[in-house]
């Protein structure tokens, strides 16, 4: 039962309907059952791992809080984090490390006989492990009280709207909301439904329509340079539509239950720098990495150059978190290098912009920075999307070859679209940009929607629903669901 299915919509309707009927004191039971049923329909064999991780994190949180001395709390915190990372490492990274060591042994002539193990990656493990680590660290730092109610804690750990692909929530935000009695509220229901509709629209009309086109290029044995350039840029749009749709649906589902989840995206492809991009893309992961990796590593460093090491390490963790493969490691490293290079050359770039005259036309300067940032992000995504390092380097070489950008080649590459696809994308492009324009000029498109008359609101939502039904395609899981 994925988000994009009639079964899920029926399931959600039943849960929301029941939620507001049962007394508040029993609602955690309903949410817990719903979360486990939802997870079981996707990955029943890993329910025991989810239960063990939940129980372990609950107990270690209480034990940490009971310690009187700071040192003891810290020691237990490290035990907790190590066990959680071990679970993640075993399932997600065992074969990556094993294969890498085997390759290294073969290259250097050493004997290495640890066999390959068939290990399936448990669904959502990267997300719930990071959420668990933040809980354990926050309890040890005294920022979060250890939750004594096992039921509420389990719901926090496995809350079905955000279990599979986030947003990664902190206990201090989610737990109090779960414990507060939520009342049936028209605004919440209306907002939740609209976010879900918008998510379905982006997923079925953009992400899943683009996915086969992008895959046809990246799976091709000999794509042309122009095809790689176009497919990489389309992949960036696909990935954004896919992941932000997943977050929209998660946020919408939670809001139907009166619960506010964190926003995960803020128009990332309008970022004016790589630092700005990471403040707009997968925000809850960026904040997590900032608080639990970057800040501890950067703390106490008095020189910018000393902090660069912390930046590179943080982006390496980000890369490894995304996938157990060297191309993800390299993808993370590329972003780290972008960030460090961007900081180190900031003053020279500002002087150059001033010399060119950009400071006299700030709008042009802004759009120039947006275009450059988008291209840097796209280039890194060649590594994100490729299946191996060799393929990634070959695609990256094609991406930066000037002839790949020749208009004639690009026009030929556009032929990968059918006429119907092209028309649909043009219409959807206009709709999405209208939405983003409203976001930029009015603050929030959702507040703007709430101010519209009932007729306008219904008409917009009907347009989105009918478009998704008539022209949407589905069948692809969410890209980030695989992490």
């Amino acid at each position: 039962m994925t988000f994009i299915s009639i079964e899920f919509l029926l399931f959600l309707t039943i849960i929301v309907g029941t939620y507001y009927v049962v007394p508040h004191r029993f609602r955690w039971v309903l949410l817990l059952l719903a979360s486990y049923v939802f997870y079981a329909t996707l990955s029943i064999q890993f329910i025991p791992l989810l239960l063990i991780s939940t129980a372990f994190t609950h107990v270690i949180g209480i034990l940490i809080e009971k310690q009187e001395k700071k040192e003891q709390k810290k020691r237990l915190m490290w035990v907790g984090v190590s066990v959680l990372v071990f679970f993640l490492g075993w399932f997600k990274y065992f074969n990556f490390v094993n294969d890498s060591l085997r390759s290294f042994a073969a290259w250097s002539g050493f004997d290495y006989d640890v066999p390959y193990k068939e290990i399936v990656l448990p669904l959502a493990i990267s997300f719930y492990t990071f959420q668990a680590i933040s809980y354990v660290v926050d309890v040890s730092r005294g920022k979060q009280k250890a939750e004594r109610h096992y039921g509420y804690f389990s719901v926090y750990f496995a809350f079905f709207p955000q279990l599979v692909a986030g947003p990664i929530e902190r206990a201090k935000k989610l737990l109090p909301q779960l414990k507060t009695e939520q009342h049936l509220d028209y605004d919440n229901i209306s907002y939740g439904i609209q976010r879900i509709i918008w998510g379905f629209f982006k997923k079925t009309l953009i992400a899943d329509r683009l996915a086969p086109i992008v895959a046809s290029v990246f799976n091709s044995p000999d794509p042309t340079g122009s095809e790689i350039v176009l497919a990489t840029m389309l992949f960036s749009i696909q990935l954004f539509a896919d992941f932000s749709a997943c977050s929209d649906i998660a946020i919408g589902c939670a809001r139907l239950l009166g619960i506010r989840l964190s926003e995960n995206f803020k128009q990332p492809h309008f970022a004016v720098s790589i630092a700005d991009f990471w403040n707009r893309w997968h925000i809850t992961l960026s904040m997590w990495l900032r608080d639990y990796i970057f800040m501890p590593l950067a703390k106490g460093k008095k020189k910018r150059e000393q902090i660069y090491g912390a930046i590179l390490a943080t982006f390496l963790v980000s890369g490894i978190w995304h996938g157990a493969a060297w191309n993800f490691v390299l993808w993370g490293l590329i972003h780290g290098i972008y960030r460090v290079f961007g900081d180190h050359t900031k003053q020279q770039r500002e002087k150059m912009a001033s010399w060119v005259g950009f400071d006299r036309v700030p709008t042009l300067h802004r759009w120039w920075k947006i275009a450059i940032t988008f291209q840097l992000v796209c280039f890194s995504r060649v590594f994100f999307q490729s299946h191996s390092m060799a393929e990634a380097f070959s695609h990256a070489k094609l991406y930066v070859t000037p002839s790949s950008w020749a208009p004639s080649g690009m026009i030929q590459a556009i032929q990968m679209f059918s006429l119907l696809d092209l028309i649909i994308f043009l219409v959807v492009f206009v709709v999405v940009h209208l939405f983003q324009h409203i976001e930029r000029t009015k603050g929030s498109a959702w507040d703007w929607m709430a101010r519209q008359s009932a007729v306008t609101s219904v008409a917009i939502n009907l347009f989105l629903i009918v478009s998704a039904f008539l022209f949407g395609v589905s069948g692809q899981g969410f890209v980030y669901g695989g992490f």
Partner: protein
Amino acid sequence: MSTLEAYNMAFKNGLELEDDVVLEEMKLGESTEWDSIGHMTLIAEIEDAFDVYIDSDEMTEFHSYQSGIALLQRLGVDIRS
């Protein structure tokens, strides 16, 4: 050296500022020097100068010259000339 002078010194050292910069008007993100990386070097200087520990929540509260003074006062440092 007064605590205010020490605070100003930490600002200048942490952010590698010229002498003529008007510190009182400085805000996080509004100058080249005080960006997210500069913020970390500034926090390290201030922690050293006043022997305090600033945690991640407090770091986000510290977004201007004035809010830094308010934060330090909350941490028990009386900033005065």
